[in-house]
Symmetry: C2
């Protein structure tokens, strides 16, 4: 069996900060082209490799190749069974698993499409999976998808949607020595923040996964001068919502929540939104993966690229080695055992099918 | 009797935006030097003229010569008995009254010191009265002072103090998809704003004047990123407090008010403060002025230069023509009748004494 920790270290030592994935993409393309029976297509810095065995089902195994910027941890360092280094957990261990599967599982029971893509860690417009769906949707045809983001080896199903609202409260200026002549917009913001902080988000259970919603103020701004009752103050809210709601439904519920503290002259602006993804565990391939993982399935609370698959009708989940809370930190690291466990779960799924 | 509206128009037509008072100071100095019996001293762009009659009491009559920036209203325009133009009310009408008194009341019952000073409308460090107290306190010796700021011809006694606090609330960062891992500093700010908005300020009555205190949030700021639970948020508070409290006492009371919603890691910083001034109506000269004004005395709620006199042990009040709410607006104007009424009140006080 491949030394998966060593393979991950090899990938960590090929720098691939977002926007600079070319060398790593070249490397992966070269290795995949050397595998007999795989059709390999390069699109920009994204590499797609797939079997053409005519199986009744096709599974997509996807992972991003880019990392956040270097933070004093750009070189791989192995200590015993622990690999330290940028991208070790998020998500070169997941890419290593995909590469090893492609090289080792020659006769899978399902057709497999490996998608190793660039630009996940930065703005949505740079996302390689987005570029493939836009330019080469044929390459992403499939029945289900597994994204190898770090999940501690647990299947994280679906993902929550996200939206941001900017709420601007109005007031009327006055001198602070005579505030009763005006209306303080920042004081009014206090009411709004009270409603937001007191809100008990929903916790719907879908396919056995509890999606715990969240509503958080993420920015606040207001003020005219040190002696002026301010006539405007703005708070930005980020709402994470379960995939049983569309962005429009979630926005409407949020506007209903805020309505009692809003008045004439106030403004609520939708800044951006992205839909969630349902767990999709009724798909036999994903249900089989949950069983093989040996752990109870969890809802994915953050937004991930599984939502892109779901938006194209492909049920998807996250399943990868590594502690997600260490992602994007200087202390990022990954252990040998969970990489091997994830590999074993995936290899079993590919070999035996659902 | 002098045409006081015309004299005010003449002064309006000599531009004197803060920092550019020299030409107006030259003009006033020249006219005051022409008055027999007045000792005139020029210090920077401040002009002090005083009688030396050996009276048992000395009254200071003070006014600032500068204006806020031009706002399409730089030229005097008289329509009937109304003078329109920058500084007409704030406070060239008051300066005109002082100049006319100096020129007309040759044998006052009290010694009089006229103080026409620069730099009142901008930062405290530029204040000409401050420069005189610092460099020539001998010129400001006196028993009581009247500052001719616009008060609608009502004596406004004393003034409130002012202080600003910056309150920074701490939190702990987390991903907004898992906010229970952190503490939202902006949500905590909501509690603070609730306390501030719900606070019922004191309304102490001093010398018959009700001082209505105020507590207002004047700025708010916080946020890390659109998907991060923020670990810091700051609100700036402006507190106007009655002159029965020192700045330290007012600050302590404010800290007591906020204490229940503050915790470890939070920070309360005193940004600046200025003491108020008691009404000082037990002084016979000020009591006599209230009587001559023919109107009930009012507390001054804003901070004015009467506080500088009070800080040097000189009871002081505001008394001048013009609507203070028109000050600093494009619509600034003043009527003939109130200028003449204020002049009559002051002339009576100087002629008859207390």
């Amino acid at each position: 069996m491949t030394d998966l920790l060593g393979l991950t270290a090899e990938l960590v030592d090929i720098p691939s900060v977002s926007g600079e994935e070319r060398v790593l993409a070249d490397h992966l393309e070269r290795r995949l082209r050397a595998v007999p029976g795989l059709e390999v297509v390069r699109h920009l810095d994204n590499v797609v490799a797939r079997t053409r065995l005519g199986r009744p089902r096709r599974l997509i195994v996807a992972g991003h190749t880019d990392t956040v910027p270097v933070n004093g941890n750009g070189r791989a360092r192995i200590e015993g069974d622990t690999l330290h280094g940028l991208g070790s957990s998020d998500m070169k261990a997941g890419v290593a698993v995909a590469l090893a599967l492609a090289e080792a599982v020659a006769e899978p029971a399902v057709d497999v499409t490996y998608v190793l893509y660039a630009g996940e860690e930065i703005e949505a417009l740079a996302n390689g999976l987005g570029h493939l769906f836009r330019d080469r949707p044929d390459l992403l045809a499939g029945d289900a998808a597994v994204v190898g983001e770090p999940t501690d080896g647990v299947v994280e199903a679906g993902c929550q949607g996200t939206l941001r609202l900017a709420v601007t409260m109005a007031g009327a200026r006055a001198h602070t020595a005579r505030p009763w002549m005006g209306v303080n917009a920042i004081h009014r913001l206090g009411e709004l923040l009270r409603v937001v902080a007191a809100h008990e988000p929903r916790r719907p259970v879908l396919d056995g996964c509890e999606f715990r919603e969240a509503l958080q103020a993420v920015a606040v701004d207001g003020g005219v001068a040190g002696n002026v009752v301010p006539d405007e103050a703005t708070v930005s809210l980020n709402h994470r919502f379960a995939p049983d709601r569309t962005p429009a439904e979630a926005e409407a519920a949020l506007r209903d929540l805020l309505a009692p503290v809003l008045g004439e002259g106030d403004d609520v602006l939708l800044v951006d939104s992205a839909p969630g993804a349902p767990p999709g565990l009724d798909h036999p391939l994903l249900a089989a993966l949950v069983e093989r993982s040996g752990a109870p399935v969890r809802a994915k609370l953050g937004w991930t690229d599984v939502a892109r698959f779901a938006a194209h009708g492909i049920p998807a989940c996250n399943f990868g080695p590594g502690d997600p809370t260490l992602a994007h930190t200087r202390e990022e690291r990954v252990e040998r055992t969970p990489i091997e466990a994830v590999y074993a779960g995936m290899a079993g799924l590919l070999t035996d099918g659902a």
